[in-house]
Amino acid sequence: MSGPTHDPELTALEDALVRLAPASGVNRDALMFRAGQASVRRRAWPIAAVASTLTAAGLAAVLLLRPPTVLERVVLVEPSPAPTAPQQDDSAADYLRLRDRLERESDDAPPPNPAAPALRRTIPLDALLGLPPDAVTDPWITSRKASFQSGDPL
């Protein structure tokens, strides 16, 4: 088994190192704390949470404590007659009278001559085309004109 080596150079270095002393003013504990503190990233959420809580509380307070507001607008009201009968009164009466009449007269008698209704004028084709009356004389067109007015096929 070999013993310790007594190299003079190494021994001198050893002695020199032993003589070294830490610089004064360095606090080890403080250094370690600062190192740990530096290793953690700062987060903004607590600040945001606090800020929004404070905002909400502020708004709630405003809402509860504000004075009642009155909305004003101008409404034009037409003077209306005193209510009498519903608007549809007249036509309702028409239906009811017609029903009464048909009920009374629902007999076997053949229906009457439904008196010729008032002649309803139709717009002549000439007028629709912006032409003077009877301006269209072409047989092809007049046959279509007649068909148009009577509704019958050509």
């Binding site: 036509s91 001559n113 509704g151």
Partner: protein, 471 residues
């Protein structure tokens, strides 16, 4: 807007040219013999399913309303000629100048409409919104179509075109059924009137030499041919649709606005009642209402308490509200008491329906409350009676055709009694559920509908065919 209905009222006013109180004149028919067709169901008086195409008939009916289609037919002189032709005997139309009528495009539209798979007049929602304010100006033009179809059928018979005349009759009968599918009594009654016109044309066909026997075509028609119950259901919607304020009448406590609306509705009823009675239009409606309410209040209060309301609550109500509630309840009760009988075959319901109608008339006469019943309740008896007379005429025509079958196998002679008919049965009269009365003498006979027990003959309960064997 009111003009068309007002016009219709005037036209309807001329509708009855025979009093319902006088018995109808016998319908005279000269009968050529005709055996049953082969195959039996060869002829139709209503378009069959195979003849129908998809779509809503109302669309085509309204298409045919185009003024361009109708304008020249509404010339006064032309219209009068069509009217006369619609009632003329075909033999008087052989030289008619109205032949052009047979090919008119407008009536082809009506032919197409009659052969659509269904007909929806889209009136239910209108009634829900407008109540009795709904306008029906189209009904008059549909009546005109019936007249034109009648003229066309007779012109076709004059030209020996029996098949075409039957086609025209089928168009008219389909139109009448389409009208009867509408939810108003007015349209139902017009449908019945149009069907009657078409049966008049069927009678002309029957009298035409060489015409087919229509026994099975008549038997194939739906029974009942027209059912007025849908019209009654539509009428039931009308009260609250016309007077929405009445919906609030039963409220525990009415607001001032509700009470004013109720007052307006009540005044509306009284105004219309005064018009109905042809009283002075300038009558003080407010005073009349106040008087009615005062008069009806004690009985109305009593009725509400009997029905379960607390007397002290009723005392706190405005008098108008009390009277309105009582009037509405009376209306609702009588409405169902009447309309329930329309659910039975007419022969079963007739005496009970008539009694209910009489009771209603008696009640509404003595009712001091609001005239709701008087104004809003249709005469179920008259409507059902009209529908039943249509059924009776169809049944009687089946009897006539059974007679023609007999003639075909007996040298043209009329049977001495209905018992002699073996080819096809004569149906019972649907109005009385009794057999038709047949009396023969030589080459003449009568087929009469029996009168309801205890009734004298009137236009509403009698029907007689006077039959003569054709030589």
């Amino acid at each position: 807007m009111r003009t068309p209905i007002a016009c219709l009222v005037v036209l309807a006013a001329s509708a009855a040219n025979a009093s319902a109180q006088a018995p109808l004149d016998p319908i005279k028919l000269t009968l050529p013999p005709a055996a049953a067709p082969v195959p039996a169901l060869k002829y139709h008086l209503l378009p069959e399913v195979a003849d129908q195409s998809p779509g809503n008939a109302a669309l085509l009916y309204y298409k045919s309303f185009a003024p361009e289609y109708l304008s020249n037919m509404r010339e006064k002189a032309v219209f009068q000629k069509i009217y006369e032709a619609s009632r003329a005997s075909p033999k008087d139309l052989v030289t008619s100048e109205l032949r052009w009528l047979k090919g008119r495009g407008v009536m082809r539209e009506v032919d197409r409409a009659a052969r659509r798979a269904y007909c929806d007049w889209e009136l239910t929602e209108r009634i829900r919104a407008e109540g009795a304010g709904v306008l029906l100006p189209d009904v008059q033009t549909l009546r005109e179509f019936a007249m034109i179809l009648s003229a066309r059928a007779r012109l076709e018979l004059a030209d020996g075109e029996t098949d075409k005349a039957l086609y025209t009759c089928a168009t008219g009968l389909a139109l009448s059924r389409h009208l009867a599918e509408a939810p108003t009594v007015v349209q139902n009654l017009v449908g019945i009137a149009i069907a009657m016109i078409m049966l008049g044309n069927v009678e002309e066909v029957i009298q035409t030499s060489g015409s087919p026997n229509l026994y099975w075509a008549l038997a194939a028609l739906p029974r009942p041919f027209l059912d007025p119950r849908k019209g009654f259901q539509g009428e039931k919607m009308m009260l609250f649709a016309t007077w929405p304020a009445l919906r609030d009448a039963e409220a525990e406590r009415l607001s001032e606005a509700q009470l004013k609306a109720l007052e307006a509705a009540a005044e509306g009823f009284l105004t219309e009642d005064l018009r109905h009675e042809r009283s002075e239009a300038s009558a003080d409606v407010k005073a009349a209402l106040a008087e009615r309410v005062k008069k009806a209040l004690p009985e109305s209060k009593r009725a509400l308490v009997v029905a379960g309301r607390k007397a002290e609550d009723v005392d706190k109500m405005p008098p108008l509200q009390v009277v309105t509630i009582a009037s509405l309840r009376r209306f609702a009760w009588h409405q169902d008491e009447l309309l329930k009988w329309a659910c039975l075959p007419y022969a079963e319901a007739r005496p009970l329906l008539e009694a209910a109608e009489k009771n209603r008339l008696r009640e509404q006469k003595s009712d001091p409350g609001l005239p709701i019943m008087k104004l809003m309740l249709p005469s179920a008896y008259k409507v059902c009676n009209a529908a039943a007379r249509l059924e009776r005429r169809i049944a009687a025509l089946r009897g006539v055709e059974a007679v023609r079958m007999y003639q075909a196998s007996h040298g043209g002679r009329l049977p001495v009694s209905l018992d002699a008919l073996t080819e096809a049965p004569v149906p019972f009269d649907p109005m009385t559920n009794q057999p038709f009365v047949y009396k023969a003498e030589g080459d003449k006979a009568t087929l009469s509908a029996p009168l309801p027990p205890g009734e004298a003959a009137t236009g509403n309960n009698s029907l007689t065919y006077e039959l003569t064997a054709a030589r």
